[in-house]
C-alpha cells in the first residue's frame, strides 16, 4: 500500500518533469527542422514537423550571401570568444594569485576596490566604454568585443576563491627548492588550479559568444559582426525569412551545444557555485 503510493508519486514526478522537458526540447527541434525547409515550407501556416522536401538551401544561401556573411560571423565569434577567454585567464589568474597568496601593503584596499565594482550596474559603463573604444580606434573591429569585458572583477574573484583553498605547504616546498614567486605560481599553483581555470575559460567563452547588446552597437559593417549581432540584423529586414533565420540560429547554436555536451558538468557547477548572471 505504502509502496504503491511511492510508486505513484514517482510516476507523477516523472510526468511533470517530462512535460516541462518537452516544452524545452520541442522549440529547439522545430528550429532545427525549420532550418532545412524551403522558403515556402518555413512560412507555412500549419506546423510541419517533418519537412518535405528536406533542403540545405537556407544554409547555402546564408553561407554564400554578402548581406548575411555567416561564415565571417562564425569566424569572428570564434576569434572573439577564444581571445576574450584567453585574455581573462592570463590577466585574472596572476592578479587573483597575488590577492589570495602574496602579502603586501595595499592588498586589502586593492581587493576592496575591485570587489566594489561588482556592485556597479554595468549600464553606466556602456556610453563611456564606447567613447574609449572609439578613441582607441577599435570600433567595428575585434578588440572592441575581446578586451573591455575582461575588466570585469568576476574572473579575479572566482579564481581568488579557488587559490585561497589551496594548502600553503606546496608553495613553501617549491620555494625551499629554489623557485621564485613566478615559478611557484606557474609550475605548482597553476597545474593544481586546472579545473578552476577550465571552468573560467568555458564560462568566459560562452558569455562572449552569446553577448548581444555590445557587439550589436560597437560592430557596424556586415563582415565584422559576431553571430548574435548578425542575427539581430535579420530582425530589421522587412520580410523575415524564417528558413534563413533558423539556419543562422543553428549555426550559432550548434558549437555551444557541442561545448555544453562536453563540458556540461563544469558549466553548470561553475555557474551554480558562483552565480554568474549574464
Amino acid at each position: 500500500m505504502r509502496k504503491d503510493l511511492r510508486g505513484l508519486r514517482r510516476s507523477l514526478l516523472h510526468l511533470v518533469l517530462a512535460a516541462v522537458a518537452a516544452l524545452y526540447v520541442s522549440p529547439l527541434v522545430y528550429m532545427a527542422v525549420t532550418s532545412v525547409k524551403t522558403r515556402e515550407g518555413a512560412g507555412s501556416t500549419t506546423p510541419q514537423w517533418i519537412p518535405h522536401p528536406v533542403t540545405l538551401g537556407a544554409y547555402r544561401e546564408i553561407l554564400g550571401s554578402t548581406d548575411f556573411p555567416a561564415v565571417s560571423w562564425f569566424l569572428n565569434s570564434l576569434a572573439a570568444a577564444t581571445g576574450h577567454a584567453a585574455l581573462v585567464l592570463v590577466t585574472a589568474a596572476p592578479a587573483a594569485y597575488a590577492l589570495a597568496r602574496l602579502n603586501f601593503r595595499g592588498r586589502g584596499a586593492v581587493f576592496t576596490v575591485i570587489v566594489a565594482t561588482l556592485f556597479v550596474p554595468p549600464v553606466v559603463l556602456l556610453v563611456p566604454n564606447f567613447l574609449i573604444v572609439n578613441e582607441l580606434a577599435w570600433v567595428d573591429s575585434l578588440p572592441a568585443v575581446i578586451v573591455p569585458a575582461a575588466a570585469s572583477a568576476f574572473g579575479v574573484f572566482f579564481l581568488r576563491q579557488f587559490f585561497s583553498t589551496l594548502p600553503g605547504e606546496l608553495e613553501e616546498a617549491a620555494e625551499l627548492d629554489g623557485c621564485n614567486r613566478w615559478q611557484t605560481f606557474t609550475r605548482v599553483v597553476l597545474p593544481l588550479a586546472k579545473p578552476a581555470l577550465v571552468t573560467l575559460f568555458v564560462l568566459s567563452f560562452l558569455t562572449n559568444w552569446n553577448d548581444f547588446l555590445w557587439p550589436l552597437f560597437v560592430l557596424l559593417s556586415p563582415e565584422s559582426l559576431t553571430l548574435p549581432a548578425g542575427l539581430g540584423n535579420f530582425q530589421s529586414a522587412n520580410n523575415i525569412r524564417y528558413d534563413l533565420v533558423m539556419a543562422g540560429a543553428m549555426i550559432a547554436s550548434v558549437p555551444v551545444l557541442l561545448l555544453y555536451l562536453v563540458a556540461q558538468r563544469w558549466i553548470i557547477e561553475g555557474i551554480s557555485r558562483s552565480g554568474l548572471k549574464g
Binding site: 597568496r101 574609449i132 572583477a153 579575479v156 533565420v245
Partner: protein, 314 residues
C-alpha cells in the same frame, strides 16, 4: 557561494587582511605582487575605473561624438530627464515604466518557478541529471538565438503558439500580449539558470536536519518552512538580487521580439540608452539616463539586502 554574497563576506574575511594564514612568509621584492597584478589592473583602470568617472563627466556635457564642441551644461541633462514634458524626459519615463512592468512581473515568476523545479529535482532518481541539462540548455544558447526562435514561434500568422493554443493574438505588436510574450520567453530562457543555483543551495542543507525533524514527526510543509526556506536564505538573497538586476537590464528579448512595439511601450531603459547614446550619439543625455537607471538599480539592491537582513533580526 555566490559572487555577491561571497563579496559581502569577503569584506569581513580575515584572509583579506595583510597576512594570509597558510601563505608562505618568505620575503619578496616589494614590486613582485604589483607585477602579478599589473596586467589586470591596466584593464581595470581603462575599462572599469575610468569609464565610471568619464561617464559622469559626459553626463554633464552636451556630448556628440561627431561634434567637436562639447559644451559643459551642468546638471541640465538630468533636469531635462526629470521634466516629463520634454522629449527626452517623456521617452525616458516611458522606458523606465516598461522596465518596471517587466521587472515586477518577471521576477516573482523567476523565483517561484525555479524554486519549484529545484525542489522537484532535489532527490535521487533516474534521469535527474538529464532533466537538469535539458532545462539549462536554452541559457547556453544566448538571447539572440532564443529571441529569434520565439519571434518565429510567436508570429501572429504562422506561429506555433497561436496554432496550438487556438488563439489569434498578435504577441509581437499588441498589449498586453507583448508583455506575456516577453515575460514568458524570459522565464523559458532563464528558468534553468535559477533552478541550478537553487538546487546547489538545497544540496548544501545538511540531511541530518531533515532526519531529526522527521524523528520529531514534522510534516513535509513544516520541514519546508522550518528547514528548507531558512537554509536557502543566502542563495535566495543572491538569486533575487541578480534576477532583479538582469530583468531591469532586459534588452535582447525586446529588441528581437517586439522591437519596442507598440509605440515604444515595451522599449526598456537600457534599450533607449543604447539607442540614444550609441546610435543617435546623444551621449550626454544617454549617460545621464544610465546614472538615473543605476540609482534605481542600486536602491532596489539596497531594499533587497535590507529586507533579508530585517528578517534575520526578527
Amino acid at each position: 557561494m555566490s559572487v555577491l554574497a561571497g563579496a559581502a563576506t569577503a569584506a569581513r574575511d580575515p584572509g583579506v587582511s595583510e597576512t594570509a594564514p597558510g601563505a608562505p612568509v618568505r620575503r619578496m621584492r616589494p614590486w613582485t605582487p604589483w607585477a602579478f597584478l599589473a596586467p589586470y589592473l591596466l584593464l581595470f583602470a581603462v575599462f572599469m575605473a575610468l569609464p565610471i568617472g568619464f561617464g559622469f563627466w559626459t553626463s554633464l556635457h552636451e556630448w556628440d561624438i561627431n561634434v567637436p564642441a562639447k559644451p559643459f551644461v551642468g546638471l541640465s541633462n538630468y533636469a531635462e530627464l526629470f521634466d516629463p514634458s520634454s522629449v527626452d524626459g517623456s521617452r525616458f519615463w516611458t522606458a523606465m515604466k516598461a522596465t518596471g512592468i517587466f521587472t515586477v512581473f518577471s521576477v516573482p515568476l523567476l523565483i517561484v518557478l525555479p524554486l519549484l523545479v529545484a525542489l522537484l529535482m532535489n532527490g535521487r532518481f533516474r534521469g535527474r541529471n538529464l532533466y537538469r541539462a535539458v532545462y539549462f540548455a536554452p541559457y547556453v544558447l544566448g538571447v539572440a538565438v532564443v529571441g529569434l526562435l520565439w519571434r518565429f514561434l510567436l508570429d501572429g500568422n504562422i506561429g506555433l503558439v497561436n496554432h496550438y493554443l487556438g488563439l489569434d493574438v498578435q504577441w509581437t505588436t499588441d498589449l498586453p500580449g507583448a508583455w506575456v510574450a516577453l515575460i514568458g520567453v524570459t522565464v523559458w530562457w532563464t528558468l534553468g539558470l535559477n533552478s541550478v543555483i537553487f538546487l546547489a543551495g538545497l544540496q548544501d542543507i545538511p540531511r541530518e536536519l531533515y532526519e531529526a525533524a522527521m524523528v520529531d514527526g514534522a510534516g513535509a510543509w513544516h520541514r519546508f518552512r522550518a528547514i528548507t526556506l531558512p537554509g536557502l536564505r543566502p542563495v535566495t538573497l543572491f538569486v533575487v538580487n541578480a534576477t532583479i538586476l538582469a530583468s531591469a537590464n532586459m534588452f535582447g528579448q525586446s529588441y528581437l521580439i517586439t522591437v519596442g512595439a507598440p509605440a515604444d511601450q515595451t522599449k526598456t531603459a537600457i534599450y533607449l540608452i543604447a539607442e540614444t547614446g550609441l546610435r543617435q550619439f546623444d551621449m550626454g543625455t544617454a549617460s545621464a539616463m544610465s546614472f538615473v537607471l543605476a540609482a534605481f538599480l542600486m536602491a532596489a539592491s539596497g531594499l533587497v539586502f535590507g529586507a533579508f537582513r530585517n528578517r534575520r533580526a526578527r
